[in-house]
Amino acid sequence: MATDIQISIVGSAGDGTIAAGEILRGALAGMGYKVISFDVYPPEIRGFGKCIARMRITTEQAYSLKHKSDVLVSLDDSHAIPHADEVRECGAVIYERGSIVQLPEGGHMSAHIGPGQLPYPVPIRELSEKSTGANRSRNIVVLGFLAGLLKLPAEAFQKAIAKKFKRKAAAAEAGEAAFRAGQDFAAQTFKLDDVLFGPPVSTVVAGATVEMISGNAAIVRGALDAGIDTFFGYPITPATSIMERLATEMPKRGGRLLQTEDEIAAISAVVGAGFAGARAATSTSGPGLSLMAEMLGMGVIGEVPSVVFVSQRGGPSTGMPTKTEQSDLHMAVYGGHGDAPRIVIAPTNVDGCYRCGGKAFEMAEAYQTPVIVLIDLYLSNRYETVVFPSRPPFEADTNRKPGKLAAGAQYKRFALTADHISPRAIPGEKGNMHVVTGLEHNELGRPNDSAEMHEAMSRKRHEKLKAALRHPDFTHFKRFGDEGPVDVGVISWGSTFGECLEAMIKARGEGIRCAAMKVVMLSPFPTHGVTAFMTDCKQVLVPELNYQGQFANLLQANVARPVTRLNRVSGEPMKVEDILDEIRRLAGRKAAQKAA
């Protein structure tokens, strides 16, 4: 039996909602299921904001969340009640049985459970207090109950709980007790629902490893596998966990990580370290990227390899730090003053995060340029099960081209060559001393603002990036769905592509000829491939999470064809239903036109 179960845990900040989600998906992945999950949390650490840990557990990896959940767990009714109708028929609703405050009519979850859904009242608070003496372990009680109700093996949970609370013996012990209390209560509860887990299917090929991992963690793993040397960063939601993970992992491999005083300092240090030959990176979000704009220009003109991982959030300004959005595309591709071309790649799933996270370093070195890996909060915090190959698919040291020169000739750091890529020397190399400057310069790197030189150097800096469109072992774009001419083509980027793919598959199921394309490389733009795809499509739909249609703008700047835009800025992932409706509409409009 194939498994396809979606569980949502909804609570208030401080209820441990997200932590419960982490443990649950850790346990499930440990059992061998494929998981995709995405959490929603408020900007305050505590207070009263809504938190949702939502995950879909499948036999084969899925790339988007379902519209309906099979199980809803409420740790705070005031937040969970609006989500009651997201539970499917015969799905389970697990909620706190009692209340310590007087409730108005409708203030309790039981008032909102539809006749087709199955109620599971649990004395969550009481079980927590009974088993641990405090009410803090309510989230773990709920996990115990889930495990008991869905007949999942306790060991996987115990392992995940122990992992979560390692170094905190008392908390781990309380966790154990709370878990057992929940499980015991489930044993006394009569199970009614038909939420059933099939056996997990192992798809691991020899040598490969399977892990349930978030987008940010995948980026980190990619960077580590590509041999990152130095990292400078400044905490910012939702990119912080990239830095946090690297802080743990890099020293283990002799790498160096420094928390700088701000993002300006961080990008500056990255450019410095890149100049010095290190594989260097920073991570940030929109506000930090804005601060970095000037120094990125320096990286472009200085032709310094550098990598910036950007996880977008709702903007502008401080905006919506804990909500997802894809509105930094303009900033990433065009941001900053002057003609400052750079490579921008945007993975569409967690596996892609791993690949882009590593390939970014290859590209930065190969084309001597800043590379921005553009993801968003949804992808950063989304968990998927990823199969990692036994050997990292990244080149260790790419095209540094030192000492390519004939003896006696003067070293030209910015030599104009046929492929527009100059020999790069790094400090410490004998005889190749040079200066990298933010001023326009000649081949030697000496300031020069002549018309000819600025034109030649501008051309060099733009043209050399074209080679990146043929960068080996890298998916620049990819087409899915029906081959040949189609009625509707969906083209999208980044985290939204998972929803586009699912909508496209559903549309095909409804008999609509349909295809989808993901574009990973945003700058330079793969005009050829995208044009070919769009020629096949009678209608082109571009769904993305921003108001302006930033990707559609980019598309239309490169391919002169009308497209239909589908924009959402709700701060949450796009709904598959919305895309599907639009596909249906476009397919129908075409039919209507034909009839006319």
Binding site: G14, E44, I45, A247, Q259, E261, D262
Partner: protein, 301 residues
């Protein structure tokens, strides 16, 4: 064991209501974690504004980004919640535009000494007539607990999983050397003293810097806890002379047992005074200024 005489609620409530300090609280309940020391600061600021008789509309709270920077939302005055690290320049702008305002910049240690560190010396040396309340919890709370420039050596956080190798900077010493004209330190766990210090800082004419030690109850369970801070803090020696900058620096050097109280105070022209002087020098005419802070002058007497 404290007083054992019972507290009679309605008498207490009457006293609080009559004091008028509740008028300085916003309607919104603060969203900090229960137990956070910052609650203590809101209470103290409200009480100080009340005690000094500053009308709500004449006060401006300016903050950057961080847990502490949510502060302007919880007091009933004008406020600005600006960019990370940029509270001081924005506050300088506010004060420069209108001297009659009581400007209070608030922010955390990361906001003030990491990303915004470059702004501190300049606000201090210019002697902008404002109060800078530095909420020092030694951690980045809003991004869930990374090290800050004021985190202790050896402090473990997600970005310093093998201990923090950096030593914390000595904020008091910095401010003293940057030329802040009023420098003091308080602790959130001593609400009474905190309130008295804030009142003094606000009453001071010039750049007053109050460093407030506070625990982060959610992300720091090892270092700066109520328990540890309670044991570490001491009072400044009774004979400390707050006009002696060197003595103040000597006290500030002892960061193992932080001393609470007024370290240093001097009276000197503010940025506003200097700018007025320039106008005078240039032969210009000062625009009709509103009477400068009558209430504060009264309070100082």
């Amino acid at each position: 064991m404290g007083e054992i005489k019972p507290i009679y609620l309605e008498e207490k409530l009457k006293e609080i209501e009559e004091s008028g300090r509740l008028d300085y609280r916003s309607k919104t309940l603060p969203t900090w974690c229960p137990g956070c020391g910052y609650f203590s600061i809101v209470e103290a600021v409200a009480a100080s504004l009340c005690e000094l008789g500053i009308p709500n509309e004449n006060a401006v709270m300016v903050s950057g980004i961080g847990c502490s920077s949510r502060f302007p939302f919880f007091v009933n005055t004008y406020g600005m919640h600006t960019l990370h690290g940029r509270a001081l320049p924005v506050a300088t702008g506010v004060k420069t535009a209108n001297d009659a305002l009581t400007v209070v910049a608030v922010g955390g240690d990361g906001d003030g000494f990491a990303i915004g560190g470059g702004h501190v010396p300049h606000a201090a040396r210019r002697n902008v007539d404002m109060t800078y309340l530095l909420f020092d919890n030694g951690i980045y709370g809003l991004t869930k607990g990374q090290t800050s420039p004021l985190s202790a050596v050896g402090f473990r956080t997600p970005t310093s999983p093998y201990d923090n190798p950096d030593r914390p900077l000595n904020a008091l010493l910095m401010l003293l050397s940057h030329g802040a004209s009023w420098v003091g330190q308080a602790y959130a766990g001593r609400p009474d003293h905190l309130h008295r210090m804030i009142t003094q800082a606000m009453a001071h004419r010039g750049f007053s810097y109050l460093h407030i030690l506070s625990p982060c109850v959610t992300f720091d369970k090892t270092h700066r806890t109520y328990q540890n801070l309670g044991m570490q803090v001491r009072d400044l020696p009774a004979d400390h002379d707050p006009t002696d900058r060197l003595a103040a620096m000597r006290e500030a050097m002892n960061d193992a047992t932080p001393a609470l109280g007024l370290y240093y105070r001097e009276e000197r022209p503010t940025l506003g005074d200097a700018l007025d002087g320039l106008v005078e020098k240039a032969g210009g005419e000062l625009p009709g200024k509103p009477a400068a802070k009558p209430a504060r002058k009264a309070a100082k007497r």
